[in-house]
C-alpha cells in the first residue's frame, strides 16, 4: 500500500477496490461503455500508463495492468493467462489489475479460445512478454543508477541494487523502460521458482460475477440501441417463401420487419462461417419483450429449400459442398446409419492382417454404440451488438474467435478490417458454439440495414433449434481373441451425420498387432460444429466402453488390462503415427487406481466404472461410483486424474475438471436433440433435459499428475472419458450394458 502515496483519486480507487473486492484483486473490463462497478472506471485510474510489450501497462505509481489476450468463456483464462505474465514480470499478483485486452492480433497474438489451446498457445509468448518487460525495467534502472544490469535483482514489483543500497519501484522506471526496444532474448524463470503460477489464485472477475455486474455480451448496450430477432424456419431444409407482417407492425415498439440474406449468392464460406439458414426474416423494435411478442404475430409461409450447394474456402482453392434439401427425421437417421455401416467405408488405418486374424479367431465380439445430436445450450443465449455506419463498424459480443469472424465481416460489410472495431466480452459458456460467426454477421447486416445500433437476441428456442450441433455418431467395434483369450485383432468402423468421428491413430492403435479403422459420412442439412472435445466426446464413450467388455471377456481387471496394452504400445509399438504417449496415459490410470481405492474392499458397496482418454494433448482418467437413489442409479462420487503438464492455477483447474465431469454425466445421461421432418423436437429446457443439482455427484476428487511438462489442454480432455466411466459403472449397477446415449432413456423405461 505504501507504493500509492499521492493523489486522492487513487486513494479513492484503492478504497473502493477493497470494498468491491473484499481485499482481493479487482479487474477492469476493456469495454469503455460498460459502467463497470458503478464507481470505478478504468479511465479514472491515475497517471499515465506506460506500455511494455503490448501485454503490460505500468504507471509511475507502480500500478501494474496486465491484459488477458484470450476470450473468456468460463475456462478462467482471464486469471490464468495474466498469472503467467505476472510470474515472469515478478510482481505481486495481489496488486495486479487485469483487463480484457482489445482485439489486436498484432499485439496480443491469435486470440482464439477453443481446442483447449489457450494456455498451451500463450504459455511461451506470455512468459516471454513478462520476462522481456522485467528486463526492460532493469535496463532502465541500470542506466539511471549507473550500475551493471546483472547486479540488479527484483522482487514483487521492486528493484534492488545491493552494493549501492539503491531500490525503487517498477513504476519509477516504467516511462524510461517503455522507450527501450523489446529484447530479442530473455531468460525465463526456473519452474521451481514460480510463486504465482502453480499457486491457486481467485478468479479475477469472481466478485463482479456474484454481484451482478455487466460482463457478458448480453449485458452490453448503448443509448438508442434497437432490439432485433430473427424468425428462422421451423425445420432444417426450409426457407421463407413469403410473409405477412401487418399484425406485427401494428404492435407497440416495432420499427421494421424485413428479409435479408446472410451471405450473398456465390459467397465463399470460411471454415467457421457455417450458415444454417441463409434467408433471415428480421423483426426490429424498441425492447426485447416487444420484439418477442410481435414476432409471434408474423404470418410466414415456409417452403422446402431443395438441394443447395455451399462454396467452401479450402486449402488449394474453394470446393462445392452439396447440402441435401430433404427434411430429415431421427428415425430415418438411424435407418440410414445402419445402411452406411454395412457398406464399404474409407480406410483410415490398418496394421498387420486384421481380416485373417478375425477369420481365424476363436472368439469375436462386436458391439455398436450410438450417440445423438447435442445442442450446446450455453446458458447465455447467442447475441451480438452491432453498430455499423458507412465507414466503420463497432461489434461487441461473446465470441471465441474475433479474429476469424473479422475477415468475414470485412467482406460482408465491404469495410477494411481496420475500420471494424471488435470487442470481446465475457461469454456465458461457449463449448465450441461461439467459434461460429453467423450471429455476428447477422447483427452487423441488420444494423447496416436499419442504420442504428442493434442488439441481436436469440431466445432459448432460437438458440436450441438453430443447429451447429454435436453430430450424430455411431461406431461398431469388433475384437478377436485366440483360444487363450488373448486379444489378437481390433476393428473400429464409425460414421456420423454428417461427420466421421474416428481418430484412427489413438489408443488402442499401437497396442494391437492387427488393427483396422474405417469411417464414413452421411451428408445432411442439419448443421454441426465443434462441441467440447469434438469427435473425442463420442470416441471415448464408445471405445472405452468396448474395452471394458474386452477386459471382461479376457477375465481381466479393466485397469490392469489397459495398462498391459499400454505397456505393449510403449515397448513395442505397432504401426506409425500413434498419437499418444503410452507412459503418460498409463500414469493417469495408475494414479486413478490409487486415488480411488480401486482395489479397496471398503469401496465394494459402489458400482464402479473406469475410463481414460487422451485428447487435446492431455490425459484424463476417471473412476465413477454409482449407488441407487430412489430406485435409480446415481453417480455419487467421481475420482479424476489429469495430466495436462504444469497446472497454472490449481484450484481453478480443479473446478474445470469437476465441471467437465458434471457436464459429461449430464450429457451422457440426458443430452439429446431429435428431429421430425426437419423440426428439432427439443426447443427449450422443458424438453431438453439438463443435469440438475439433485443429479450432480456429491463429491468429485481431482488430482493432477505432477510434472514440469509445458502445459497442455484442460477444458476438453476430462470430458470425453466420463461418458464411458458412467456407462461402465451403470453396467455394474444395472447388470446390462449401455450402448445408446442418452443412457437414462434405458433405465427410466425400466423404472
Amino acid at each position: 500500500m505504501e507504493n500509492f502515496k499521492t493523489n486522492n483519486s487513487r486513494r479513492a480507487f484503492l478504497k473502493s477496490s477493497l470494498l468491491a473486492g473484499g481485499g482481493l484483486m479487482i479487474s477492469f473490463s476493456g469495454l469503455a461503455k460498460f459502467s463497470l462497478d458503478g464507481k470505478i472506471n478504468a479511465a479514472d485510474l491515475p497517471g499515465e500508463w506506460y506500455e511494455l510489450t503490448g501485454y503490460i501497462k505500468i504507471t509511475q505509481d507502480n500500478i501494474i495492468k496486465i491484459f488477458n489476450p484470450n476470450p473468456e468463456f468460463g475456462q478462467n483464462v482471464m486469471t490464468s493467462l495474466p498469472m503467467i505474465v505476472a510470474e515472469e514480470l515478478d510482481v505481486d499478483w495481489k496488486k495486479v489489475v487485469v483487463e480484457m485486452g482489445p482485439h489486436d492480433n498484432v499485439k496480443l497474438g491469435p486470440q482464439f479460445t477453443g481446442g483447449s489451446n489457450s494456455v498451451r498457445m500463450y504459455w511461451k509468448p506470455l512468459r516471454d512478454a513478462g520476462a522481456a518487460a522485467r528486463n526492460m525495467i532493469i535496463t532502465a534502472a541500470a542506466q539511471t543508477w549507473n550500475v551493471p544490469a546483472e547486479e540488479i535483482t527484483t522482487k514483487a514489483g521492486m528493484l534492488y541494487h545491493e552494493k549501492t543500497g539503491k531500490s525503487g519501484t517498477y513504476g519509477e522506471f516504467a516511462s524510461k523502460a517503455s522507450a527501450i526496444p523489446i529484447p530479442k532474448e530473455v531468460k525465463l524463470k526456473d519452474v521451481k521458482d514460480f510463486n504465482v503460477v502453480r499457486h491457486s489464485q481467485k478468479n479475477v472477475e469472481g466478485v463482479k460475477i456474484v454481484t451482478g455486474k455487466p460482463l457478458f455480451g448480453l449485458d452490453y448496450t448503448q443509448e438508442g440501441t434497437l432490439i432485433a430477432m430473427i424468425e428462422h424456419p421451423p425445420a432444417f431444409g426450409m426457407k421463407v417463401k413469403s410473409f405477412d407482417a401487418a399484425e406485427t407492425l401494428k404492435m407497440p415498439g416495432i420499427k421494421d420487419v424485413f428479409t435479408l440474406k446472410l451471405y450473398e449468392d456465390g459467397y465463399e464460406q470460411a471454415g467457421f462461417d457455417t450458415r444454417t439458414f441463409n434467408d433471415l426474416l428480421v423483426v426490429v423494435g424498441a425492447t426485447t419483450w416487444e420484439v418477442m411478442n410481435a414476432r409471434k404475430k408474423l404470418k410466414v409461409t415456409w417452403e422446402p429449400k431443395g438441394d443447395t450447394k455451399d462454396k467452401m474456402a479450402g486449402r488449394g482453392g474453394s470446393r462445392e459442398v452439396l447440402v441435401p434439401g430433404a427434411l430429415e427425421s431421427t428415425a430415418t437417421h438411424f435407418a440410414k446409419m445402419k445402411e452406411y455401416a454395412a457398406k464399404p467405408a474409407q480406410l483410415l488405418r490398418k496394421d498387420g492382417d486384421p481380416e485373417t486374424a478375425f477369420k481365424n479367431a476363436a472368439k469375436v465380439i462386436e458391439r455398436t454404440y450410438n450417440a445423438p445430436f447435442l445442442a450446446h445450450n450455453c446458458m447465455e443465449p447467442m447475441n451480438c451488438f452491432a453498430h455499423v455506419a458507412d465507414d466503420k463498424a463497432l461489434i461487441v459480443g461473446p465470441h471465441q474467435a474475433a479474429s476469424w469472424i473479422e475477415p468475414t465481416l470485412s467482406k460482408v460489410l465491404n469495410l477494411p478490417a481496420d475500420k471494424i472495431d471488435m470487442q470481446i466480452t465475457r461469454m456465458g459458456g461457449g463449448f465450441g458454439l461461439r467459434a461460429y460467426g453467423h450471429t455476428f454477421v447477422e447483427a452487423a447486416i441488420i444494423s447496416k440495414k436499419v442504420k442504428a445500433p442493434v442488439k441481436l437476441m436469440y431466445t432459448r428456442e432460437d438458440d436450441m433449434t438453430y443447429g451447429i450441433y454435436r453430430p450424430m455418431y455411431t461406431a461398431t467395434y469388433r475384437a478377436a481373441f485366440d483360444a487363450n483369450k488373448n486379444l489378437i485383432a481390433f476393428h473400429v468402423k464409425g460414421g456420423g451425420i454428417p461427420e466421421n468421428p474416428i481418430h484412427a491413430n489413438r489408443f488402442p492403435a499401437g497396442a494391437v498387432d492387427n488393427y483396422l479403422a474405417e469411417g464414413w459420412e452421411i451428408p445432411s442439412n442439419i448443421t454441426i460444429g465443434a462441441f467440447r472435445a469434438p469427435r473425442s466426446n463420442f470416441n471415448a464413450a464408445a471405445e472405452q466402453s468396448f474395452l471394458d467388455e474386452v477386459a471382461e471377456v479376457m477375465g481381466k481387471d479393466p485397469i490392469e488390462f489397459r495398462l498391459e496394452l499400454l505397456k505393449r504400445a510403449k515397448e513395442n509399438p505397432v504401426g506409425k503415427n500413434n498419437e499418444y504417449d503410452a507412459d503418460r496415459y498409463a500414469e493417469v490410470l495408475r494414479l486413478v487406481k490409487e486415488k480411488s481405492g480401486w482395489s479397496d474392499a471398503a469401496n465394494k458397496q459402489y458400482s464402479r466404472g473406469v475410463a481414460a482418454y487422451f485428447c487435446h494433448n492431455s490425459y484424463a482418467a476417471h473412476v465413477v461410483d454409482v449407488v441407487k437413489k430412489d430406485g435409480q442409479p446415481f453417480v455419487e462420487r467421481v475420482t479424476s486424474v489429469v495430466d495436462c503438464g504444469i497446472v497454472i492455477n490449481p484450484d481453478a483447474a480443479t473446478n474445470m475438471v469437476q465441471g467437465a465431469v458434471v457436464d459429461g454425466i449430464g450429457n451422457a445421461l440426458y443430452g439429446e436433440q431429435t428431429f421430425k421432418e426437419g423440426v428439432p423436437e427439443k426447443n427449450n429446457f422443458t424438453r431438453y433435459r439438463m443435469i440438475r443439482h439433485r443429479e450432480a455427484p456429491k463429491k468429485i476428487d481431482v488430482h493432477f499428475v505432477q510434472n514440469d511438462i509445458n502445459p497442455t489442454g484442460l477444458g476438453e480432455p476430462p470430458f470425453p472419458p466420463i461418458f464411458a466411466a458412467v456407462a461402465n459403472a451403470l453396467y455394474k449397477s444395472e447388470k446390462k450394458r449401455f450402448y445408446n446415449q442418452p443412457f437414462s432413456a434405458e433405465f427410466q423405461k425400466k423404472a
Binding site: 466478485v207 456474484v210 407497440p252 419483450w289 461457449g430 432459448r460 473446478n655 429446457f685
Partner: protein, 155 residues
Amino acid sequence: MAAINLNVNGKTVTVDVDPATPVLWVLRDHLNLVGTKFGCGMAQCGACTIHLNGNAVRSCTLPVSAVKNNAIVTIEGISETGDHPLQQAWEELDVSQCGYCQAGQIMSAASLLKRNPKPTDKDIDNAMSGNICRCGTHVRIRKAIHLAAKTQSKK
C-alpha cells in the same frame, strides 16, 4: 402501456411498460439492472431468479402487473457491498466458471437460507434443482451454501 410503480432494491421506481412485460425485461431493458439473466424465458433454468418479498421467483414469467406492492430484490440489491454470506462463500470457494448462471443460483440459495438456515444436502438439491449450470459448478455451489449457512449461524 401503463405507468407502474415498483419497489426495486429498496428504491421506488416508475416504469412505463406493457403490464404483461415480465419483470426480467423490465429490470434488464428499462432499469438497466442486468445482473438478472435471461436463460430460457419459461421458468426452467433459474438464471432470472429474483426475490419477491424475500421468496425466490423466476422473473422471466412474472408479469410486472402482478408485482403490486411486493418488494423486488435482485442480485444487485442483495447486499450493498457484495458481502452477503453467500457472495463471500462463492468467492471463498471460487465457485464460478463462466458465471452466467451464478446470480440466479445465489438468489435461489439466499431464499433457501432464509427459510432454512441449516439446509441438508437434500434440502439444497431440492431448492436448487430449478437452476441449471452448463459449466457444472454444482458440487461447489452445494459446498458454498453450507459454508454460507455456517457463517450466518455465527453472526
